[in-house]
């Protein structure tokens, strides 16, 4: 939780329903994300967590409900509006450019901060070059922040999984996001990698005041780093509150231990 945290709401989803044909991925889900908090979305497999993130950044369009981001209400987000509005994300399955270096991958995250036309960028002279240098400097700070100097020039496809996840976080951070969506950033990691990743997430929140929405399965991590948690099950919100409250909630325990649904 950052010092700047206020009770100001950054994003609010209200009565969101999303279905694919007859499958109801999200049913009447509402919650809010406050400025500067770490908000976790948890739930068993298939609960609709990733769908929720996809709705927030405009990849899926819900049939019902409204999304209010920075005071502006919309029926649905569009991906480029989300990006331009300062929403960045990482993916459950890493989505990097495998053949490109760490540095180039993170540079792509600066895309929204580059304004010069393709023509100038292709020639790499004058203003385009200046812009490139400024952005490179920012990217170097991200690299320093994530302690990945040693793989700066390494093609991402050659990196181990844990480092690829870190590069992906780097690309999201390069966009200087207001809201950072992390989809299972610690899946498949060993304990040390998880601890590193938790540290980076907390530091991002702390140093840059970035608001974070996190999907994670590792309950230890979630309970440690979240300010508030929302729990989904079968597309519905079944609980929400501080980690302690959620941990004690009978519905949550049932969802995780698998009580039969009649």
């Amino acid at each position: 939780m950052t010092d700047e945290q206020t009770n100001e709401t950054l994003l609010e989803v209200d009565a969101i329903s999303l279905s694919f044909g007859g499958v109801h991925a999200l049913v009447d889900v509402s919650f809010d994300i406050r400025k500067g908090e770490v908000r976790s979305i948890i739930g068993p497999n298939g609960a609709g967590k990733s769908s929720m993130l996809n709705v927030i950044n405009g990849f899926y369009h819900p049939q019902e409900g409204t999304i209010t981001y920075q005071g502006q209400a919309r029926k649905q987000m569009r991906p480029h509006d989300a990006a331009a509005g300062g929403i960045a994300r990482t993916f459950q399955n890493i989505a990097l450019f495998k053949g490109m270096s760490t540095l180039d991958n993170i540079m792509t995250g600066r895309n929204t901060h580059m304004s010069k036309s393709l023509f100038w960028q292709a020639l790499r002279i004058g203003p385009a070059q200046r812009e490139e240098i400024e952005n490179r400097e920012f990217v170097e700070h991200v690299i320093d922040f994530l302690e990945i100097q040693s793989i700066r020039k390494t093609p991402v496809g050659r990196l181990p999984y844990g480092l690829q996840k870190r590069v992906e976080l780097g690309r999201a951070l390069a966009a200087e996001p207001t809201l950072l969506l992390l989809d299972e950033p610690m899946a498949g990691m060993n304990l040390e990698e998880k601890e590193d990743m938790s540290r980076f997430i907390l530091e991002t929140n702390d140093e840059f005041g970035t608001t974070i929405a996190l999907i994670e399965h590792d309950m230890g991590v979630v309970m440690d780093i979240s300010d508030r948690v929302v729990v989904l099950d079968y597309g519905r919100k079944i609980a929400e509150g501080t980690p302690e409250e959620v941990r004690a909630n009978q519905d949550v325990i049932d969802a995780y231990l698998g009580v039969s649904h009649d």
Partner: protein, 652 residues
């Protein structure tokens, strides 16, 4: 003083004040940060250091206070050493990857009130230490990442301290200078805690004079000038870094480069291309291994080029390096190799510009040593210790051997004691062990001779050879020296031999237990159609015995060349039926032989080696990995190995 380049100054801060007059614009340090090499000129480095000094003084840092420094090599950390010295205080660098408890001993023993820590990781350690050592008042950090929530009364940004110092200097510009002028050459420059394999670490106190004189002498010895490039990547708490990067750098005026992070050293090395380079043998070894592995994966053309020219290098390279005469054709062939193989290889390794490279600390394998020298890299060995401000002997250009460690440089006297122990006296001899007069008296005589604890001798060329720890060296019955570890290491250079135990103290001749290396011998057995079902069966195979006998006889031959060691030739040996194992207490966890246990367990085998039996029955208890006990029985063959005649005795 005047215009001569001979620099005056009794302490490092005084030396820097002198140098500032002409060299303020010269680059003194670089650090790679944010992907770019950032330079501190001497002027900038001193400005920051003196501002820090003023800030520290304001926090109450006084003459003789200690400043514990924890972190990787960073210009600001070197600067904090200058700051402490400027105030007449003492920097005490600690090993940055030690756990808090280990550093706590240093902090406590050095009575430090101030700790400078590089980043959050080290600050956390420092705060953990502070709980146990309430004396610690301030923890100052360089990298603010992750530290915003810490108590600013205790944990401070170095920038804040410097800013405070700058304010004070504005009001009183001579504040720090006046303190610097009070420094004397006999003042303590640094306290370095030796890691110490046995017992508690000892704080070696070195004076400014120790370091300044040693740095001047060494710079002269190898012609080190202000034009060198050096990469400072070894721990700041190690005496070598303090001498190579700090003392020699400030005396000669060359630029010291700090790598971006510990993981980027190889890339940074390549970018800097140092001209003066130090690495312990294991670094050279692992680089060689990675080169060999990558060459095995290379295409056939590259591989055959590499193999061909490495043969050429082996034949010609070392001779060229030593300045011997080489036929014109070989010279041309080598030149071609330089163009096609050696040059590009050295470039990849970042060693293209190396003029002088040193290795020390342990024995380096002769093949590894020769590999680098044959490429045209002037790799040399030195022998030293913290108590000597590093240098006891060094190899002069042109007379470099893999098995000896050179001659004493100017100003150093070396003597061999009655029991074979190496003792020395030099301008670098340490003042004392901090707060430990007993240990000081044990190590250093009243007339400044220091006991190294190592046994050695001067060979026929006058070069020092270190053979063993003095307490492990024994005597054969003909009163010649018996150095078990030296013999064992020589045998262990063969890949087929994994472990050796030699016997000979108070005996007529030397014998050995051999452990074969299952991987290497197993591989050899496959290639030579030797069938075996178990370790025990392979070890007892006559052809394996023949293989090992060949290794021993090679060693005997080389021992015969040396008048001091020719009676240490191994006359009889056996191959053990089981691997010596830490689980059975035969080795320590770091794989050092426990001689006492071996003597107890295998007493009968040892007697059999000396009484002439040709085989001996043995039954040993072993501990399996699941903790069960078992018995292994075997009838071991004992073989004689051929002994080479000593050249001089043969002639007589």
């Amino acid at each position: 003083m005047g215009n001569s380049l001979e620099l005056q100054g009794d302490t490092f801060p005084q030396l820097l004040l002198q140098r500032l007059k002409h060299d303020a614009e010269r680059p003194a340090m670089r650090e790679k940060a944010y992907g770019i090499w950032q330079t501190w000129t001497l002027g900038e480095l001193c400005e920051e250091s003196f501002a820090l000094a003023a800030g520290l003084a304001d926090l109450g840092f006084a003459r003789n206070d200690t400043l514990v420094i924890i972190g990787d090599n960073r210009p600001r950390l070197y600067g904090s050493m200058i700051a402490a010295q400027a105030l007449g205080g003492v920097p005490v660098p600690a090993y940055q990857d030690s756990v808090a408890e280990e550093i706590q001993y240093v902090v406590d023993h050095a009575e430090a009130r101030f700790i400078i820590a590089e980043n959050q990781e080290q600050v956390d350690k420092a705060l953990e230490i502070k709980e146990q050592c309430p004396r610690v008042a301030f923890v100052i950090y360089c990298d603010p990442k992750g530290l915003r929530k810490y108590d600013p009364q205790v944990v401070m940004d170095i920038q804040t301290v410097m800013a405070r110092g700058r304010e004070l200097l504005k009001a009183d510009p001579d504040k720090v200078n006046a303190e610097i002028q009070k420094g004397k050459s006999s003042d303590t420059s640094i306290i370095l805690y030796t890691s110490g394999t046995t017992g508690r670490p000892k704080g070696v106190v070195l004076s400014h004079e120790n370091l300044l004189v040693t740095a001047r002498n060494t710079n002269a010895f190898d012609g080190i000038t202000a034009e060198e490039e050096v990469l400072a990547y070894l721990p700041m708490a190690w005496v070598g870094d303090n001498v190579f990067s700090f003392a020699m750098g400030f005396v000669a005026g060359f630029c010291v480069n700090c790598p971006e992070s510990t993981n980027t050293v190889a890339q940074d090395l390549r970018e800097i291309g140092p001209t003066f380079y130090f690495a312990p043998p294991r670094v050279f070894e692992s680089v060689l291994t990675s080169v060999m592995i990558r060459m095995k994966d290379a295409g056939r053309l590259k591989r055959s080029l590499f193999d061909h020219f490495m043969k050429v290098a082996k034949k010609t390279g070392v001779a060229l390096m030593d300045g011997q005469s080489v036929p014109a054709w070989d010279r041309f062939h080598y030149w071609l190799g330089e163009l096609l193989v050696y040059g590009p290889l050295k470039n990849t390794l970042g060693l293209s510009r190396v003029r002088v490279a040193y290795t020390a600390g342990e024995a380096i394998g002769p093949e590894i040593f020769e590999f680098y020298r044959s490429l045209g890299i002037n790799l040399k060995q030195l022998y030293g210790q913290t108590e000597a401000t590093v240098f006891i002997t060094m190899q002069p250009d042109g007379v470099v051997r893999s098995e000896s460690v050179g001659t004493p440089p100017p100003g150093v006297e070396v003597r061999i004691e009655e029991n074979g122990e190496v003792v020395y006296r030099s301008p670098g001899v340490f003042k004392e062990y901090f707060k430990n007069p007993e240990a000081t008296a044990e190590t250093k005589t009243s007339d400044n001779w220091v006991h190294t604890g190592d046994a050695g001798y001067f060979d026929d060329e006058g070069h020092l050879r270190i053979i063993d720890r003095a307490k492990d060296v024994g005597k054969l019955n003909d009163s010649s020296m018996f150095a078990p570890k030296f013999l064992e290491n020589k045998l262990k250079f063969f890949p087929e031999i994994k472990e050796v135990v030699t016997f000979g103290d108070q005996r007529d001749f030397v014998t050995a237990f051999i452990n074969i290396d299952l991987d290497a011998v197993g591989n050899w057995a496959e290639r030579n159609n030797v069938a075996y079902a178990s370790y025990q069966e392979l070890a007892a195979h006559p052809e394996v015995y023949a293989l090992v006998q060949g290794c021993i006889e090679q060693v005997n031959q080389s021992l015969a060349q040396d008048s001091h060691l020719s009676s240490s030739q191994i006359r009889r040996f056996l191959i053990l039926h089981k691997e010596l194992d830490p689980d059975d207490g035969e080795l320590t966890r770091t794989r050092k032989v426990r001689r006492r246990i071996i003597n107890e367990r295998y007493g009968d085998l040892i007697e059999a080696l000396f009484d002439g039996r040709t085989n001996c029955f043995v039954s040993t208890e072993v501990m399996f990995e699941d903790g069960r006990q078992g018995q292994i029985e075997a009838d071991l063959e004992i073989r004689d190995a051929a002994v080479s005649q000593e050249p001089s005795r043969a002639a007589a």
